[in-house]
Amino acid sequence: MRFDFVEPLVFAVLSLGVIAAGAAVVLINRITAAALLMAFTFLCMAGMFVLLGAETIAAFQVLIYVGAITVLILYGVMFTKYGDRPYALFFQRQTPLAVVFVASVGIPVALFSFTFTSGTPSPGGGDLPQLATSVFTDFAFPFEVASVLLLAAMVGAIVLTKREGREETPR
């Protein structure tokens, strides 16, 4: 193969983007910048899905995460204008404890994650036929339940944020 180095190179760039932007979301103090960096993380993740051969999932990722959820979060940032507080973390006094905790959990997980080896890979040609076959045959009932869940979430969000009207009698 002549282009053997392309896939690891693209993977390296995308993983660097995902991890760096994800860390910046946690570490940056400005909320709007954090939201846009979150969108960048989702875009890099969509690139990883394309690299894995899951183009349909990548399209859903761009549509739902980069489009809808980022816009929703930005609306939330817009509506909750809050005075600048000095940047502070919850556990800033427990830094040695946090370092010990992260080292004791994260390092074994990171080492363990490299032990997975690939099995029989999926055949090429995209994932849409298999995905559609599974969703509309074996998972048809959970699919409908998910639509009901979305409806309930929509009604719940409207009820939670609705301002109390003038016709409501004061208690």
Binding site: E7, S15, G76, Q130, L131, T133
Partner: protein, 103 residues
């Protein structure tokens, strides 16, 4: 050379830990919601990676990713509604200042 499955799982684990740390250490409720989304997306990457690397028969993992999309959309909608409601009532958005959840 093909990128091994372990590399994808390592990136997924790293992003999950980043999101978990963000949920634990940040005060702003909107940023906490963002970090929850990061954790969900890390789980999505693991699901898609396993599904593509082992999925010679079908794509069950990708189906679960579709459901995770649905759950994430519902979660962020209701979560932001709760945050906006708390902000309207008390004008606070930092979770260490929201002492009681009574409206």
């Amino acid at each position: 050379m093909i990128v091994p499955l372990g590399a994808y799982i390592a990136v997924s684990a790293a992003l999950f830990f980043i999101g978990c740390a963000g949920v634990l250490v940040r005060r702003n409720a909107v940023v906490i919601l963002m970090c929850v989304e990061l954790m969900l997306n890390a789980a999505n990457l693991a699901l898609v990676a396993f599904s593509r690397k082992y999925g010679a028969v079908d794509e069950r993992g990708s189906v679960f990713v579709v459901f995770v999309f649905v759950i994430a959309a519902a979660e962020v909608a209701v979560g932001l509604a709760i945050v906006l409601s708390a902000y309207r009532n008390r004008a606070v958005i930092d979770v260490d200042e929201i002492h009681q959840m009574s409206g």
